[in-house]
Amino acid sequence: MTSRFHYDLVALVIFTVVIVFGVPALMNYDGFELNTFARYLALAIVSMALALSWGTAGLLNLGQAATFGMGSYAMAMHLKLRASNGLPDFMGWNNVPELPLIWMPFESLAFTLLAGLLIPAFVGGLIAIFMFRARIAGVFVAIITLAFLVAFQLLVIDQQGLTGGQNGLTGLAQLSLPGWTVDPYSMGFYYLVAGCLAVALAVGVYLTHSKFGLVLRAIREDADRTRFFGYNVATYQTAVFCISAALAGWAGMLYTMVLEFASPTYMGVSFSLAIVIWCAVGGRESVIAAAFGAIIVNMLEGRLSDVFVEGWHLMLGVIFVLVVMFMPRGIYGLLSELAAKLRRAGRQGNAASIDPSSKTQLETGQEQ
């Protein structure tokens, strides 16, 4: 076990304890506050999903909102069918005579949950195969994913009979699991979202510290060199894209449950860029930091808009500019620099020792 892995495990445990036990106590177990915070936690999942592909593998996916939206619509379709007797109301308005084939399987909860993960993964995988087989890298990945996002959102808005168009899917039922109807203002729901985030983070931490994560970091630093070592770069990139898309879909499903509707704005460019900002503020090198970034930015947005009704947008913008200028690696970067400085200070008496951080890096490689 490397020390870096150690730190991340400790951070994960602290983070989980705080969101599961600390936050509800701090919020006085108030339904409204918990619902608001559950929203932040759902967004934290999509932010950490982006950190996985962006921070670890260097693939800036500006289309993250598209896969998020797929998950969110999958859940909304299920809840809409539960809420309506037969044909969902908006289909009648759009002169759709009977339930379209693609809606039918969403009657089943099991299918919906699977679809919310696998459809985004599949679509993400398709784009990834197309991009990474062709060895597309860098800014072009961002451009292609952004273009996909825009096209996908237009398609969703245009297919009103299937998707509800601009208004999205509204008038949803509450999710009913065997023996439990999920009320988005309940403690149970909060724990559900917090638990999902903890599991997603555990998966993320595991992946980044596995051999898989190491290869991804190698690809990020120098794809050609990794290729010469005999690794199939495209396969690794595609895999991380799929996993990231599935996590985003998962976040989308929870988000629909929090807000009780699905809207095409969940697949908007501004939402997608917001995910990038959360990730950047927290620190894209660590999935936990990225999740933390999403929570902190959304809390800040909530607070700022509460106090300064006019101009909160502007303030948020100024803060982002400052972060990018002075904390390019986010809060995580700031903390790790601080830690490195402390370590350096502590070592001054012992000049002969080797720089531990570079040694750790080597160890990570050899151990797995």
Partner: protein
């Protein structure tokens, strides 16, 4: 390296400073009741895509609240407006609506311009049995017991308009709208009226929201030579459409655009020259001659600037606050809840700027439809005024469905 560290430090301290600003930490105090006043929410976008129109609704509603407060409030209690800016984003609407209805315990919330934002607010409104006052004209086909609909539904805008247009210009209609539920629904209703009065649809076309290049539409209009252009284009799209229509030198006397969505705000952006000669159907125009309207327009202009305009949605945003006041005055001050307000509001009449309006038991509003022709000065000349107040039928296009005081009834 040194300098960078320093700057990084400054940045961190700065961020921390902002985070710990006392105002931010004590923000919850705004939520606490301040004595005996009545908290009401204002949920109109002040920023973002639809802010140009929606902020005028905010202005009108806020003006009404302050007028009421200046006149002594309701039962001697002041209204306390709690303002939120949902930034034209449905998810933000949902979030802010929760704040207003759950945390701040508003007894009513006034808000929304677009249908998408109203729908985003509906789940929490219905679940918490709050009351949402929605001032915009809309496509109908909704029958919530927790929304007060102040705008026109299709039958109120079209019943008079369509036969009038057929008689004056001819039976061949060209339908152009943005691609979402409102235009489709208005067109659905228009088609039933056309078949009743012997009109026909020569072409039906939808462009994406925000679309701004209408050259192919205009070419088709030119080749089809319809009698009437029936327009449900909204916002920036409508401005672009009107300007390009004018630039293409299509004559409003031969092929007029008859719009359900064009108001004084859009005409201000289009320019009076380009808008002149075309028509709109609405329950209110700024130039309408009643004492209530004179007072409203004068107060609005003196407060927000002489170049500002009032229009059929801001009028509703304004009178809805007075409807709220009238409902509260009927109630026992100790028993003010969203549901008692709703029940007290049903059947209320009020002298609004457009005329005497009435709240139906289906929570929509009985209005006075008018047809106006735009002039070069940006105002409309009212050509036709309904002789009677028209009842709202949100399900007019659907046989066997009626929105009643008990909700939607299917025959």
């Amino acid at each position: 390296m040194k300098r960078r560290d320093f700057l990084g430090g400054v940045g961190a301290v700065g961020t921390a400073g902002i985070l710990s600003t006392p105002a931010l930490l004590t923000s919850a105090s705004r939520a606490l009741a301040q004595g005996n006043d009545i908290p009401v929410g204002l949920l109109f976008s002040l920023t973002g895509a639809v802010a140009v129109v929606e902020s005028t609704l905010h202005d009108a509603a806020l003006m009404a609240i302050e007028e009421i407060n200046a006149a002594g409030g309701i039962h001697g209690r002041q209204l306390r407006p709690i303002i939120e800016d949902p930034a034209s984003d449905p998810a933000t609407y949902a979030d802010r609506a929760r704040r207003l209805m759950i945390r701040d315990k508003c007894v009513s919330v006034f808000g929304s311009y677009t249908s998408a934002s109203r729908q985003a607010v509906l789940p929490v409104t219905e679940q918490r049995k709050n009351l949402y006052w929605y001032p915009t004209l809309y496509e109908g086909r909704e029958c919530s017991r927790n929304v007060m609909y102040g705008g026109a539904v299709p039958n109120q805008q079209q019943d008079e308009l369509i036969p009038w247009a057929i008689e004056n210009f001819g039976p061949r209609f060209y339908m152009i709208g943005n691609n979402y539920v409102y235009p489709k629904e208005e067109n659905n209703y228009c088609k039933t009226l056309l078949s009743e009065y012997g009109g026909e649809v020569v072409h039906e076309e939808y462009v994406p929201l925000g679309h701004s290049d209408f050259s192919s539409v205009i070419n088709r209009i030119r080749s089809e030579q319809p009698d009437v252009i029936f327009a449900t284009v909204v916002g920036d799209s409508d401005v672009a459409f009107a300007r390009q229509y004018h630039a293409a030198e299509l004559d409003p006397a031969k092929m007029p655009v008859v719009s359900l969505t064009r108001s004084e705000v859009e005409v201000k952006a289009i320019g009076g020259e380009a808008a002149a000669g075309h028509f709109s159907s609405a329950p209110y125009f700024m130039g309408h001659d009643t004492p209530e309207n004179e007072k409203f327009v004068e107060a609005y202009k003196s407060r927000y600037g002489a170049d500002q305009v009032t229009h059929f949605v801001s009028e509703a945003a304004y009178f809805q606050v007075y409807q709220f006041k009238a409902a509260l005055e009927k109630l026992d001050p100790a028993n003010i809840t969203p549901e008692t307000i709703r029940d007290a509001a049903v059947g209320l009449t009020l002298n609004a700027p457009q005329g005497e309006i009435l709240i139906d038991e289906n929570l929509h509003t009985h209005l006075w439809p008018k047809i106006g022709q735009w002039q070069t000065n940006g105002q409309a000349e009212v050509l036709v005024e309904s002789t009677e107040r028209i009842a709202p039928k949100p399900y007019a296009a659907y046989d066997g469905q009626t929105c009643t005081g008990e909700g939607l009834v299917k025959a």
